[in-house]
Structures are given as C-alpha cells and as structure tokens.
Subunit: 406 residues, 2 copies
C-alpha cells in the first residue's frame, strides 16, 4: 500500500522532448515495457549513474556514449536489467543502440540505453528491436504519463512530477518521471529517473544542477539499503523556451529553475519511498546539530537501515530504544549521548542519555499512528544537518521479495 497521495499530477509537456511507448514482450506479454525518448538537436543532457561495481551493461555503455556525443535518443526497457550479463550483455546494449540509431539516422553514440528488471538474464534484444518502430511511430510530447507506466517494475504506481514557473512573462516547465520500489539505496542516482526542462542551459551549469538536485533527493532515500546495479538519472535541458542560455548558476531564472528542479527531484525520489515494497509508513529522518553533513547522513542512514527500527514503525510501536541503538551504531567518534535529543514529530522522546522526563508512551503512540512520521535527531555538537527518507519494513516486504522471480 503506497503511503500518501501518489497520483500523477498534470504532466506538462516539455517542448523538445517526445516520447513513444511500445509493448515489446521483454518479460511479459501485453504490457508497455519499452519507451523511446527523443531529444531535440541542440539540447544539453546530463546524467549520473550507480556506484555499484557490478553496474549493468547499459550503465557502462551510457558512460561511454556520453564521453563521445550529446544524446538524441534514450531507449528504456523494463522487465530485464541487463545486469550481471557479462560481455553478451554489452553486445545486447550496443545492438539496441545501433538499431535505434539506424532507424533515426543518428550515430549509435547519440543513443543512451537503460534497462530495469530482473538481474542476470540476457536481454531479448530481438524483441526489443522489433518494438522500436512502434515506439518511434508513437512519438509525441504528451506521453510522460505513459512513460511513467512503461518503466515500472515492482512499482504499484507510476511516478511523476511537473511544474511550471514564470520569469519576465515567459513560462518555463520542469517535468520528470521515476521508478523504483526495491533494491533502493541510490548512490549518485536512482533506479531510473528522467527529468526535462525547456530552459536553455550550458552543460557545466546543467551538470552542477543535476548533482545538487540528486544529492538532496535520490541520494537521500533508502528502502532496503541495497544499491541497484542500474541506477540512472538523466536531466535534459532542451532550450526550447527561447531564453538566453544560462551559463552560470545565478540570476532570477536560474534560481527559480533550481528551486523547481529540486522540488521535482525531491517529489520523484520521495514517491519511490512512498511506493516502497510493503511500505505502510513514510519516515523522514532529519539529523541536526552534527559536525558535518556526512555524520548527519551516517546517523540518518543507520536509523533508516535498521530492520529493528523499521519493524517497530510497522508495528506503530514508539520503541525509541531501537532508535538510540541505531544512533549509537552509526560509528560517530566521541559522541556525547548526554547531549543528544530525539523527537518523534514535535514530541521529545530522548534527552540526557535516556527517556525524556516529560515523555509518555501515549504521546509516542499518538505520533506512531500516523502514516507519515518525522524522526528528528539533534546531535548537540555542531551546525550541520541532513535528511534521509525511508519507509517501514512489513510482512509484505518479505512476501514481495521472497515471491518475486520464483
């Protein structure tokens, strides 16, 4: 059961991006499992990928292609991750790009491939290639919602976010989609995320914007602590809005764009947690008063990854002992636990190394009954802060992951 409202908003088209969908029977028949995304000539494109050593063939090939050319097409399949597939996997990824390049009259290096689904099985490249003409014939600017559905795996809901804003009477758009529900602890990117804007931007500005947005969104969520082999995130600036190209991170347009991109990324990342496998609760773990953002993240992830914390939240049990054990388990040097305070929403539950004197179980239980809970930790030793988003750990997480692929 997803937590909160995951409905797709109105997905504003981004001029310069067209999307086509097909049913290619990659893993199952009669489902949309192939998406082609066309990017207008002259756009800038930035991308980040998983840090997993066993990264998938398409991730390796994306990295190669990005050093050689600006992408004109993305080809995305679900149902098969093309990961753990050795040299055959690379050949299949190359074949997919070559086939799309031939159909669209671009160089193979101008195609980026993305795959998601089961690991360790060979991509049915013939079926994928057979689906490409269908997808190309369907290309249009209003297929973002369809694309959000076509890239799902164990996701129960398509995930999208879209905003427009105005600067000096000109309207600009930021629209994106994401997918992912398990094997989620992105490191540099999420399972799959694609965001486009019509703002014209220089490559260096776009790269920096993608990095900052990812670091506050996809790099701050975890469902099970497992970093995927296929995490990929792409930010496209088509430049079709007609503004003078942004060449530095300043000015009203950049600032409004930055805010919109950060909000869209944050929403796309949090949607993944809200739809986390078996999730019944959405937890925001906010750690403040640290010596560095790194140590704030260490504490936040120690809490967010603790199976004991996650099962306690599933049970709506304000078992703060497990939270303090997880804080103590984060490896911080010389942490003075007598200075640490822990809050559930606004209720102080821990201070001076133990239960807060005014805290009652009734207060804790009232907070725990909610679907969305803030765990706030004040470390009492600095000014840094950071926030991680996660979900609880339920019977259904085990069920989904014990049944999947069997």
């Amino acid at each position: 059961m997803p937590v909160g409202n995951l409905d797709l908003p109105l997905m504003h088209p981004v001029k310069g991006v067209r999307i086509g969908i097909a049913e290619a029977a990659i893993r199952y028949k009669n489902r949309r499992d192939l998406a082609v995304l066309e990017i207008i000539h002259g756009a800038t494109v930035s991308a980040v990928f998983t840090q997993n050593s066993y990264c998938a063939a398409p991730v390796l090939l994306c990295r190669q292609h990005l050093t050689k050319a600006t992408p004109r097409y993305l080809v995305i399949n679900t149902g098969n991750a093309n990961a753990g597939t050795g040299s055959v996997g690379m050949e299949n990824a190359q074949a997919s790009c070559a086939a799309l390049a031939k159909l669209t009259q671009v160089a193979a290096e101008q195609v980026l491939p993305f795959s998601t689904g089961v690991i360790g099985e060979h991509l049915p490249v013939d079926r994928l290639v057979a689906g490409l003409p269908v997808a190309l014939a369907a290309l249009n600017e209003n297929a973002w919602a369809d694309a959000a559905s076509a890239i799902m795996t164990t996701d129960t809901r398509p995930k999208g976010a879209s905003e427009t804003f105005e600067v000096a009477g000109q309207r600009y758009t930021v629209t994106g989609i994401s997918k992912g529900a398990g094997m989620i602890r992105p490191n540099m990117a999420t399972m799959l995320g694609y965001v486009a804007t019509d703002v014209a931007m220089a490559q260096s500005v776009l790269d920096a914007l993608l990095k900052s947005a990812v670091n506050q969104s996809f790099n701050r969520i975890t469902i099970d602590g497992d970093t995927s082999t296929n995490d990929s995130c792409v930010l496209i600036a088509t430049g079709t809005a007609g503004n003078a190209e942004i060449t530095r991170a300043a000015g009203e347009l950049f600032e409004k764009l930055e805010a919109a991109v950060h909000r869209v990324f944050a929403r796309l990342a949090q949607l993944i947690v809200r739809d986390g496998e078996g999730a019944t609760k959405f937890m925001t773990v906010q750690v403040e008063e640290g010596e560095s953002t790194d140590e704030c993240c260490d504490v936040a992830y120690s809490i967010a990854h603790s199976p004991l914390v996650k099962t306690a939240f599933f049970a709506s049990d304000p078992n703060w002992g497990r939270i303090v054990a997880a804080i103590g388990n984060a490896g911080l040097r010389q942490l003075d636990v007598s200075r640490v305070r822990v809050y559930l929403d606004t209720v102080c539950i821990v201070e001076s190394g133990g239960r807060a004197p005014a805290y009652t179980e009734e207060q804790g239980s009232a907070v725990m009954k909610q679907d969305e809970i803030l765990i706030r930790v004040c470390l009492g030793r600095g000014q840094a802060r950071d926030t991680v988003y996660t979900c609880d750990f339920s019977y259904d997480y085990v069920k989904i992951n014990a049944d999947y692929r069997s």
Copy 2:
C-alpha cells in the same frame, strides 16, 4: 525455528567457577532471570564490550571496574537492558554491584554487572537485589545449563558449548554460554557470552586469546546488522587445573587451549545465528582472494546484511543477481567483476561478470533447498579471506520484531 541441532552438550564444570540462579521478576514472574557467577580468587579475567556509542550503564560500569580490580562476581539479569537510562541507569548498576559486594564481602569494583532485555526502562533494582541471596545460596559448579536458560531473551533455546582436552595426562576444560537472537551484529563482543577454563594464564595472554577468539566468532556473525547497546563477552581462566601459568602464546598446552577456546567461541556465536529471530537457514558467507581481510569482510557483510539476499534465501530462490548486486555494493575500489566467481556450496553460479555457462537453475535450487548453505565468493585479486555467518530474513523476523514490546 532454529536451524540445525542446538541441543546443549554435556556442560563440563570448570573448577573455580560457581553459578547460582534466581527468579527475580525483573520483567516477568516465574522465570529464571538472574544469575550470579562466582570466580575463585587468583583467577584472571578478560572482557570485551560493544562499540555502540549508546552503550548501556552496566557496560560503562564494567569498563570502570575492570581498570580497578580483578572481578570476583558477575551479576547478570535478563528482561531489562538498563540501556538508554541515563544517570539513573548508572546508579542502578552501581547499586546492584554494591549489594552483591556487601553480601559476599568483596569490593564493589570486584563485581561486574550485565543486563539484557528491553532498552529504555529503568532496572527494577530492588527486585534484583532481593534475588541475590537466593542466587548466592544456590551457587554450585554444575549450573552452566541453568545459567544458559537464565540469560535468554528472545532466544528460543539455551546456548552452550563445552570441551575437555588432555596435555601430559592432565585434563583441562573450556565451557561457555551465550545468548542473543536479534539486534545482532556484535562489534568486539556478542550480546552476552561467558566462557571459562581451568587453565592458569597470565592476563596478557588471556586478553590476546579473547580478542582472537572473538574476532573469529562473535565479531563474524550478523542477524540484522544492528549492533546492540549491551554486547559483552567474558573469558575467565581460573587456574585451578594446576598447570604452571601460561605466560606466552606458545607450547602444546597453549595451542590445544587456543584451539578449544576458538571452537567453543565459534559454536557459541554460530548458535546465536542458528537461533536468529525467524531464521530458517544458516548461511556461511566465505570471501576469498581479497586484497585484505577487511575487504573480504566488507563483501561478506554486504551480502549478509542485504534484505534482498536474505529474503531470497528464505524463499529458497537461487537469485544470484541479488548476490552480485550486494558484492558490487560493498564499496571495493577498482573491483574487476570479470574476475569474481561466486559459488553456492560447490556450484559455480557466477563468473566472467555473468552467470556461469555450465550453471543451471536446477543446480542452484538443489543447494537452496538445504537448511545450511555456503556462499563462497572469490574476488580474484589477492590472498586474503574471511568468513561471516548469518541467517535468512523471514515473515517471522518481522512478526517477532513488530510484536516484541508491543
């Protein structure tokens, strides 16, 4: 359901150690929840404790007392961890030691306190103290099995190991007990472990022996990756066997003793995994051909902590994609995945970056049907190796941890 045979063996007494049990109603009535362990004057005692920053009051007090005196008594309660209890917790631990010291005419510093159970509630020190005379009256050399029961929390079975060996016609004994089933990723020690031998040994030799034994046993197991606030492990050498004190780590007696201690520790640690909360499978994760034991451990723990790997093993699904994703997720620099091989028992499932050509799902499924499975990873880049023990992740893990304390 524990995995394998967890029956207590014949628990050989260790001359110089007497144990007494009582029902102190620490948390529940009519259960044995208090143990006093008496150590003969002249023994040497070594201990290691959790590295969790939120370590419990008894752990803090044990560390203080060990700097001041050689212990004569251990007082151990279950039902309450006296952790996350601030200054009141420390006063309660001190009061327990003082009461036992008074009854036994030793200094308070000669008593070490240990607590296990729920975190964050105050120790009912009056009830604990009231139980001490009962425990003292019961002191005897043959209560190791009773003690194993008296220190249980969510354990379903008491845990013990015992060996004797002979050197030059003299018989020596090593006997120990442990407890723990959840919040298990010991770091320097386990939840609670107590081992004694009658061999006479100098403090420095005993300290080194404890450290090496713990590093190959309690420091190599994980159930849920959560390091407890109360991990403590004690090794006692009573010296009652009459040998000339061992002052260096050499000679036949030391070597036989070292082997016996390592076996007893390994058994006590693995018993904890076999009785892991909800465990249905016992998994040995053996990583070889690493550049260092540290990186072997990193890979082994990345596999052993992955909820996706653990749920796949629960489902008896040879989902090796999750294993390679976990290997890739261990943070090793410059890992050449084309050199990595992965085996389930003796079946090679992964090589050259993908599924081994000769591997069939039938082979994998046959291994996965077993209760005890070896996951062997060869990194192909060095001579180092290390091994970690863990269990799978089942519905019952969630059930136990969602229901406990609620």
